[in-house]
């Protein structure tokens, strides 16, 4: 702005509008302030000029009080590095989880067929004697004998124990009855 050039009312209004829209530089704002304060209010007055004058007055008061917007403190380097690491870790953990899921599924299906229990599912009998895998009819016979013997022994044992328990109960009852009779 040229200080020697006298501004028309329209130009002052235009500049005031620009000031209120924050389109002026700091230097231009200062010059406009100078113009508005040097001119008597009745010489340069309109709604937009008056609004600009009022805003300038408030801005000057704030500046005079020494108040300034608190600056955002930058995060210390350690914290910034920590946040960056956390972001990277989160991104890669998703990828790692996907890889583990795929690998686990592949291993599961691959090992299933080699597992003796799935061989068992297909062949129904799996017998090893002295380190040697037995197949065919001999395996079937060994398995049948083993099952029969195991289950028969267990059944006999359970029968014996329950019989003993029953006898114990009867024995206990007979003792109680005898005591009662005595009393």
């Amino acid at each position: 702005m040229n200080n020697d050039y006298k501004l028309t009312l329209q130009e002052i209004e235009e500049l005031s509008r620009a000031y209120l829209d924050c389109r002026l530089s700091r230097l231009q704002e200062k010059e406009l302030e100078l113009v508005l304060t040097s001119l008597p209010p009745d010489e340069a007055s309109s709604p937009v000029i008056d609004e600009a004058r009022e805003t300038m007055a408030v801005a000057s008061m704030i500046e005079a009080s020494g108040y300034s917007m608190p600056k955002q403190q930058p995060l210390p380097n350690k914290k910034r590095a920590g946040i960056r690491v956390a972001r990277i870790a989160l991104r890669w953990s998703g990828i790692a989880a996907a890889i583990v899921l795929i690998a686990g599924t592949v291993l599961f299906f691959r090992n299933r067929d080699n597992d003796p229990d799935s061989l068992l599912a297909r062949e129904s009998v799996y017998v090893i004697v002295d380190g040697e895998v037995i197949t065919g009819e001999r395996a079937q016979r060994i398995a049948a004998e083993s099952i029969a013997a195991s289950l028969a022994e267990s059944a006999a044992e359970i029968r014996e124990i329950t019989e003993m328990e029953k006898n114990n109960e009867e024995f206990k009852e007979s003792i109680i009855n005898e005591i009662n009779n005595y009393l």
Binding site: G94, A97, V100, I147, I158
Partner: protein
């Protein structure tokens, strides 16, 4: 938040994919490769819905204590326990409920020194 949930879901799904159903302690004996040697007989049979596994040691002296520790672990899950001691004969039989069915586990030591462990039940009981 959505990304974190998705990550957690992926991790959980991957753990489930490699995880196996909970086993009895005694079942681990049948996974051992070092027991496929002389003096040991292993039988596994799947007949219809029934599953039977047994391992018999001709000379069970060095294996009995370890087997006994395993069966004591499974005893905590047993609904019924039968134990008998007669001279050198010793036996313990467990009936363990699982998945709505019963699993029978038996460990027996005979007076000739042989030791036998067997596990039997419906296939559904082991799931």
């Amino acid at each position: 938040m959505k990304r974190q949930l998705a990550t957690l879901l992926l991790i959980t799904a991957s753990i489930i994919a490699v995880a196996k159903p909970p086993k009895l302690a005694c079942e681990t004996v049948f996974d051992r490769e070092d027991l496929r040697i002389e003096g040991i007989r292993i039988v596994k049979s799947q007949s219809g819905n029934s599953n039977y596994r047994s391992i018999k040691f001709s000379d069970g002296k060095k294996y009995y204590d370890d087997l006994y520790k395993l069966i004591i672990q499974d005893k905590q899950r047993a609904q019924t326990v039968y134990e008998s001691f007669e001279g050198k004969n010793e036996s313990i039989l467990l009936q363990i409920p699982n998945n709505g069915h019963q699993i029978t586990v038996s460990l027996r030591r005979n007076d000739d020194g042989s030791v036998e462990l067997y596990i039997s039940g419906l296939t559904e009981a082991f799931k």
